[in-house]
Amino acid sequence: MSSTAACGAGNERALWLDGPDGAVHGIVTTPPNPSGQAVLLCPGGWFGTATNRNRLLVRLARRLAATGATVLRLEWHGIGESAGKIDRYELDKPFVADVLAGLDHLQGLDVAAVDVIGVCFGAHTALAAAAEHPDRLRSLMLVSMPVVTAPGGARPNQVTTNELVRLATKRSALSSMADPTVRRLYGRRLRQRLRHRREVRSGAPPQRARGKSVDPRDLPRRLRAVAAAGVPTAVLFGEDDAYYQNFKKLLDGRLGDLAEPAGGLLRVETAAGDLSGFGSVAAQELAIEHAAAWVASQSSRPVRRTGAASEASPAN
């Protein structure tokens, strides 16, 4: 294990990678004491730039590089510094080509193995890439992955209409709504929720959920493909994440044979609170801790034979 050394922007370089949907921008953090390990970070859709909310991925990249990993954090085509154009993120249309561009770059460096970490939309995309090309990575970590089993299904941080109405009767909420702007914003949220409920009841796909639907078979199929290829995979949710409840149903049913200790190929980790969207500094810190621990645990695993890197890099 390499010694820990502080990393900052001085250890980083910016680059663009060719991609079919537009050149993809990324930042590579080069460790002062390279261990031969490499990590690809795939951002979420809400904060799709390579920084993610409150520079979560910047902090994670520098933390991992301090322990010896070469880290590439990407931003999807059409987002941030990347070229190209997108209209919306759709879970059933993951940006696999962007992930492959990142893997190509890392595997062209002097690294022995690449571990991939995806958050939110990035988790879906990383999983889709891993399912199609399991030989390209050593391990996979999926953080706060959206698990939507039907269009318009539960989304994290979404307050239901009933909850929103009930909130207005709480003393704490009434205190906050003494401010006229907060009152106006609350009214706007309530109207949005009521409109959403009308849309759901009328059978029309809700406006804000259209881009979030995904074929409910895709997630189990992809997880199973990755497991079948022997790629160790960890999924991390906050205990209060709305998607965690959906994922637990999958574990209790179709994916039960994959989960530890039964199959040992799919590790399910939970952290206290709500990690979705990393809406608190505490959630961000928890995600970083879990991801760093996962990467550290992979450093001692045998290097898998990888597509592009297999000829160039010896196993460590």
């Binding site: 910016a14 680059l15 409150n54 003393r171 914003l185 500094v281």
Partner: protein, 306 residues
């Protein structure tokens, strides 16, 4: 446009990435600028031939930065296409830049001044135009004092530090409605900051240092004596221009400077849906009108048209 065919170029140096659009004569370079306080992430869009001028784009901070990101990219790309070097950057303590202690207004201004000096040297221009959004408008206004006579463009500017802080604290109240946290309202949160405690808003930290540095700060005072063209684009769903903005426009017009102002219809407050995803959704509408109006204004300024 950002969507045109770009070619990934060989490195200018070992730490920069370069894209080129040869048909339009535009280069887009990202990398790091070394300053005494740390390294700043800088993204420069530049024409490959004659340079007509230069602009530094001062972003909003915290969650608002993500919401505005792609608009700024689009703008910089358009400016480069008309012969203007346009630089965007991440402040120290934010984005890809280095950490450098707590963020304060003085620190934000120092970052922008470093980038402006870099751009001036690189493009061989005398003065650099400034564009700032929200808190970035206060930064742009202050840096403009060093670039007298150059154009200033402000997108939905914070008109003073107190109102800006109040907007942030309102966002905290809204996001905490669900958890039922009792913050004691705006005054309770201000008391926290006064006592030196950080207030967290949607996963971002509003520190006492930043809060204190914004006290008593006013956009009009930072802009100082009217000097050069001024454009202010407001963003709200009410179609209303704030009276502070009207006063500024009147003042600069009366002093004989070119001015422009407009209101862009954006119904969502900055801190709600303040995400790159919202940025994408708004991209076809808000960005188009903001960027087009700004490009037209800058072009008129540089051409010296009345």
């Amino acid at each position: 446009m950002v969507t045109t065919a770009w070619t990934v170029e060989d490195d200018v140096d070992a730490r920069s990435g370069v894209l080129a659009d040869h048909a339009r004569g535009v280069r887009w370079e990202t990398g790091f600028l070394t300053t005494p306080d740390g390294e700043l992430f800088v993204s420069v869009h530049a024409p490959t031939s004659t340079v007509r001028g230069a602009f530094v784009i001062c972003s909003p901070i915290l969650a608002e930065a993500a919401r505005n990101y792609r608009r700024e990219v689009e703008l910089a790309d358009r400016l480069a296409g008309m012969g203007i070097v346009a630089a965007r950057f991440h402040h120290l303590g934010a984005g890809h830049s280095d950490d450098a202690g707590e963020i304060t207004l003085d620190g934000l201004v120092a970052d922008a001044q470093m980038v402006a000096a870099h751009v001036r040297e690189r493009s061989s221009v005398d003065t650099v135009g400034l564009l700032g959004t929200r808190l970035g408008a206060l930064v742009a206004a202050r840096v403009h004092q060093d670039h007298s006579g150059a154009p200033v463009v402000l997108w939905d500017p914070a008109v003073d530090g107190a109102k800006y802080t109040r907007d942030l604290l309102r966002a905290r109240l809204m996001t905490n409605l669900k958890s039922g946290a009792t913050d004691g309202g705006i005054s309770g949160l201000k008391a926290e900051l006064e006592q030196g405690r950080t207030v967290e808003i949607s996963g971002y930290a509003l520190t006492p240092e930043l809060y204190r540095s914004l006290k008593g700060v006013e956009l009009a005072a930072l802009l100082g004596t009217p000097s050069g063209p001024l454009s202010i684009q407001e963003m709200n769903g009410a179609g209303r221009t704030r009276r502070e903005v009207e006063a500024l426009i009147r003042q600069w017009s009366a002093a004989g400077h070119r001015t422009a102002s407009a209101v862009v219809d954006v119904d969502e407050p900055w801190w709600f849906g303040a995400t790159a995803r919202m940025d994408v959704q708004e991209g076809q509408t808000t960005a188009a009108s903001l960027v087009s109006a700004t490009v037209a204004f800058v072009d008129e300024c540089l051409a010296g048209r009345p």
